[in-house]
Symmetry: C4
Subunit: 209 residues, 4 copies
């Protein structure tokens, strides 16, 4: 059990995390551009950037799903102990890192030699972020002293159980990526969209909480 | 009617959305620069960037108007259900995408072959973001169980009715863009400014809400 | 007098403005880099970037001072009417634009032909942002119905009177810039620092307000 | 003792600071990329970016630790006087500057002539940010009139005493950097991680504070 000295309230942790989530998804667009020499046939030049749109859409959905889970966990918590704070910093570091593998995969698709490593590296990054949010949910759900009054531990574990299956999906799609990288890239989009679609709201929602 | 499990309070949704809106408008400036070889006649070099200023001003006004409408809708809501959350993520994805078509249109103006597709692509992006905020307003306005006590549904629909006409204006200017792309680029600025000028405040404003 | 329909509470306006202020100052650093060929004598390469540091320091101080004045004005307000909202959007647009003239001045210093226009353009941008915050303070200070209970109008005008003198200083330094651009660049730093040093806090501070 | 006029509540100071912290850590990733010619052997190309990962990880940990200390100090404060506000602006300026020395060190590692100055410059930047947060903690801890009711001055000084030892560590590692720059680069990572691991929470935590 954490000592009182190790407790931190969750208000500013949420504010800082929201900032990192919001900036990470917004920076993704900086990687998209149409090369100068495609301006003569710009419709085609815009269409040729499809790997960038795919990567943008995938990373945005994934971070959107992470943010929903993060919000659902943290608003059920009264305090964050040192472990939660450090896991959260690791999560934010992984989220803020995502624009790099995202741009890498966007550039590498359709280049035979680079496609596979880029997709594997990208998928592994998505897997790590999802593992970290799942770990935070599991950890907090097992410690009722961190939760707000009246929030059952099962409630937080239920949130974590929404993100956990994505880990399995990522593992499967990573195996697929070794054979068919481009198909796997679409697979990661599917996992991200599924996480957003499965995300649920709150049972004990006070307005403005 | 949404079940209780699907409800999410709007506080952190607003914080996350504010972050994405603020970053998207701020990133727009990164696309503006004066090429090295224009430094010998820098006043002219600065003036020659007018398409960049036009695009910056247009996107900033448009996102400013979206933010006003977003704020007016969300502060009248008590809960966001799963549909609102997903529509909001789509809206944020569209807003965070805007720096790309903005920089494209700034580069393409005055290049005969690229002007038309760039302006059409840009206008379509503005149309999509406006359609999404209108959809959120319409959806929430039709569900009184999502609204704060004492907020009439008509109030939210009135906010949405401020953004809806922009859809018609965008459609008209997009048609115009096929004939006269540069004129249409100024037209998009007009639609954005009009949305800001037509935006209205709150009837039931509690301070600090 | 504004009708009730035109009122907007200031909470989310502050959040959105804080986001834009924070991002604008942080993006300033992206313009600073040491060219590849200066790596052989890196200490010198780092030192040679002094115009970039000067521009960074100046813009950061100026935006810091604007933020202090913005905060001092908005926390004394109960409502923002349509005029305040639009003036605030104009202010944010000017603040978010600053990284462009900042990088321009950093590049142009020490290039004979480009120095003068770059410094004048930069100074004019700083002047515009300061004029806009002064206008917001003057406007709100003259309308007691926008202020929180117990806040005398003179209080807000006193905040605006801290920023107003900077307008005169900028005008003087802009004249100087026509003769001695580099001296004027240091002058803008002086005006920014002075605004931060003259900024005052709150007379009626509730904690957490 | 500060006069009432000089007091500023800490709420918006925290929001603005959180924004700058969040953006500074997120911008760090923009410096990481794999050069085009490494796409033929992309695994190796990804691995070769290790100095970038080291610099990213080090700067992220350092800013994470600073943020923890900043939060711990400011939430114990009732008011920020003019000195705190100006020290805080200096701190934010130093934090927002970090992406520049971070990218410099990432580029310079493994280049014999550039390694040492880049590591020294980077370490000095980390030292300055840590000195500024320590100064804020020391200053506030010595002025009980700035603290919330019931917060003993010793409590804030205890937070500052967590960051102070890092100053000594940085001094030692900077000496080491003159002899073995790459070893020192790992040393800075160690100092940052240690600060995060030593960070403590709150004794008087109200939820949502």
């Amino acid at each position: 059990m954490p000592t009182v000295r190790e407790r931190v309230d969750t208000g500013r942790t949420e504010a800082f995390s929201d900032g990192v989530f919001a900036i990470a998804v917004t920076l993704l667009v900086l990687e998209i551009s149409v090369p100068e020499d495609a301006f003569d046939n710009l419709w085609r030049g815009i269409a040729d950037q499809w790997p960038s749109y795919l990567a943008y859409f995938t990373s945005f959905s994934t971070v959107g799903g992470l943010w929903l889970a993060h919000h659902a966990i943290l608003r059920r918590m009264r305090y964050a102990d040192s472990t939660v704070i450090r896991l959260n910093l690791l999560l934010l570091m992984a989220v803020a890192f995502l624009p790099f593998p995202t741009s890498l995969v966007a550039e590498a698709i359709n280049r035979t030699s680079a496609e596979r490593p880029a997709v594997l590296f990208y998928g592994a990054s998505l897997l790590v972020t999802t593992a970290l949010i799942t770990a935070i949910g599991r950890y907090a759900g097992a410690r009722t002293e961190l939760l707000r009054e009246g929030v059952p531990a099962g409630d937080v574990l239920a949130v974590a159980s929404v993100t956990a299956p994505s880990l399995g999906f990522y593992a499967v799609v990573l195996l697929l990526a070794a054979l068919a990288p481009v198909v796997a890239a679409f697979g990661f989009l599917g996992v991200g969209l599924l996480a957003v679609l499965r995300a649920r709201g709150d049972t004990a929602g006070e307005p403005g909480g």
